[in-house]
Symmetry: C2
Subunit: 344 residues, 2 copies
């Protein structure tokens, strides 16, 4: 019998469920493995901007659960229209986090934030009532090149964290050495999520310069923030295997149908929900710290969000399987690849 | 009446014509505007490796000219199989350049070179008989990240240039500030070609971080070497508008059918032949040096290759037109965009 590991049922603190048919298809892929997931609000045609909309969206997610025991943790998108009053009501509706997208940095962020100072009354209310501030950390400035956008955002994070010492802030899907180091240096009110694909991909795996790409650009490896350099990926691996509770799992699983990925205009996003846990097990095993998988995916996030751990457990075994080329109309991360670990 | 400029009929010192149906479609797009083009040898299913194959390929190109007055300048691909004897025979067949692809760096380079020292007898013969050495300047080492591959190749160029001071060498489709500076610093036996797309694109225009991309990755902006940073593009613009004869036009027009660009594995290459001259005119006008367009596209290359200037002239006028979304099955550079200049 091969190796296996038993962990608490994990949580995914960053997920895109979309709406409609796509939602119906993808929700069970998360609900099967994860106890809870923090559901991003940048939906189309309209973002989730109020507690009421979050409740309605939550209902849609529940209707797609297929019997799985799963709790969606709801968010609202913080735009320049947000007021402290709206934050308060959203919190009463069970919304646990407000998410900020800087304008124009990713999928459905046209209504994003340009002036972070203008939102101080909103941060103050969030701090007061204990709502988490969730940040897509890329500079909205046109003068900052893509590869520098995360680094360039860090001073914004530092200022907000300094001015609101009790506001819990998550820098989402970090991709750079600099982000790791700044988050590590800040107080316990600041954490970061790390996706599974940023632990496996580098820029060269997107732009066709790594051996695995055979020279081809890979639209299915394209996401925002884009994967960075080798040293950055190493810094992320070091962070998640360090046992530092500031770094926990948020997969940013972000499905687009095949026709939006293999296209003239390639949408940003990687659908990783079906492969996340097997890949994480592989990574932690390779790093010889399988025992740190459980805290990373099942405890540190819950601690930060101040919610209890999931009570059930899941088991991962070392057993080869091949990732399907497509689920419905969505090509998953690692499509067609053989993975070494499997959730049973 | 709008502005216009009359220039000598230009040459394109770097082009991919492919073979078969694709060749038939693309050759007239070059032959219409350019007097000559240096035809790259990395064809499929087999590269052009001998003088005889070059002659046969030349015949195929001639059969696609559609009556245009055009001369293809033939090349052979220098692999580890190449011998001085083969170089001599190729030269007798009219081949003007030997092209080296480092292994694995671009489309159809699986048979590329890994050991540049092993080819010294070949360089010696090329130097002796006056055949140009044409280099795809990217490091074949897996340990060098994509964005650094050109810089990392420069020492190889410097050593060959030093050891063969009479060998004429062209560093093709340069993309970095460092390449500009090294080529400028070397003796007159070393030149570089610059494409039109590298004068217009930056990495962010490929990976979906510039305003023009609206956040989407752009497979039709994907080529090798990939477009680099803003400062690199500026260095290229400065080089081609400087009047330094070391920098001349080689478009690297590299067609792939739409289904190979909007795909899981996106092929590297931009089909720019139909838009190259209008875009160059626009750029030189914006840089307020339209008078330097003629030497860049019509004289410096011919000087370096030691061939006479074309005798005819062409006229470009300031007249808006819209680039078709597709030619045959090939999406051109700037598809659907309005251009300000037009060849008449």
């Amino acid at each position: 019998m091969g190796k296996y590991i038993r962990i608490r049922r994990p949580d995914d603190f960053h997920i895109h469920f979309r709406r409609g048919n796509l939602l119906k298809m993808v929700v069970p892929h998360t609900a099967r493995y994860f106890g809870r997931a923090l559901v991003m609000p940048n939906t189309k045609p309209k973002h989730i901007g109020t507690g009421e909309q979050a409740l309605e969206y939550r209902k849609e997610i529940f209707s797609a659960l297929n019997g799985f025991d799963f709790i969606p943790l709801m968010t609202i998108q913080v735009t320049h229209e947000m007021t402290p009053e709206m934050v308060r009501i959203a919190s009463q509706c069970g919304v646990v986090a407000g998410k900020i997208y800087p304008m124009g940095v990713t999928t459905n962020s046209e209504n994003g934030v340009t002036d972070f100072n203008a939102l101080y009354p909103v941060y103050r209310e969030m701090e007061k009532i204990g709502m988490v501030l969730s940040l897509h950390g890329e500079s909205p400035s046109c003068n900052v090149e893509g590869l520098r956008k995360e680094q360039n955002f860090l001073p914004i994070l530092q200022i907000i964290a300094h001015d609101f010492p009790k506001l819990r802030i998550v820098l989402e899907h970090i991709t750079t050495e600099e982000a790791v180091s700044v988050v590590a240096s800040l107080d316990q009110n600041v954490s970061a999520t790390v996706t599974v694909h940023h632990l496996f991909l580098e820029l060269d795996d997107v732009i066709g310069y790594s051996r695995r790409t055979k020279g081809y650009m890979q639209p299915h490896h394209f996401c925002k923030p884009i994967a960075k350099h080798r040293r950055d990926r190493q810094a992320l691996i070091d962070a998640v295997t360090s046992g530092n509770p500031k770094f926990f799992y948020g997969g940013d699983s972000a499905p687009h149908t095949e026709s939006y990925k293999e296209a003239k205009d390639v949408c940003a996003g990687i659908f990783n929900a079906p492969v996340a846990l097997p890949l994480l097990a592989q990574l932690f095993e390779e790093q010889e710290c399988l025992e740190k998988l459980d805290p990373f995916v099942s405890r540190f996030g819950a601690d930060f969000y101040q919610i209890p751990y999931n009570r059930e457990h899941i088991k991962l075994v070392e057993k080869e399987w091949e990732v399907p080329p497509i689920y419905g109309e969505v090509v998953p991360f690692m499509a067609g690849e053989k993975l070494r670990w499997k959730v049973v």
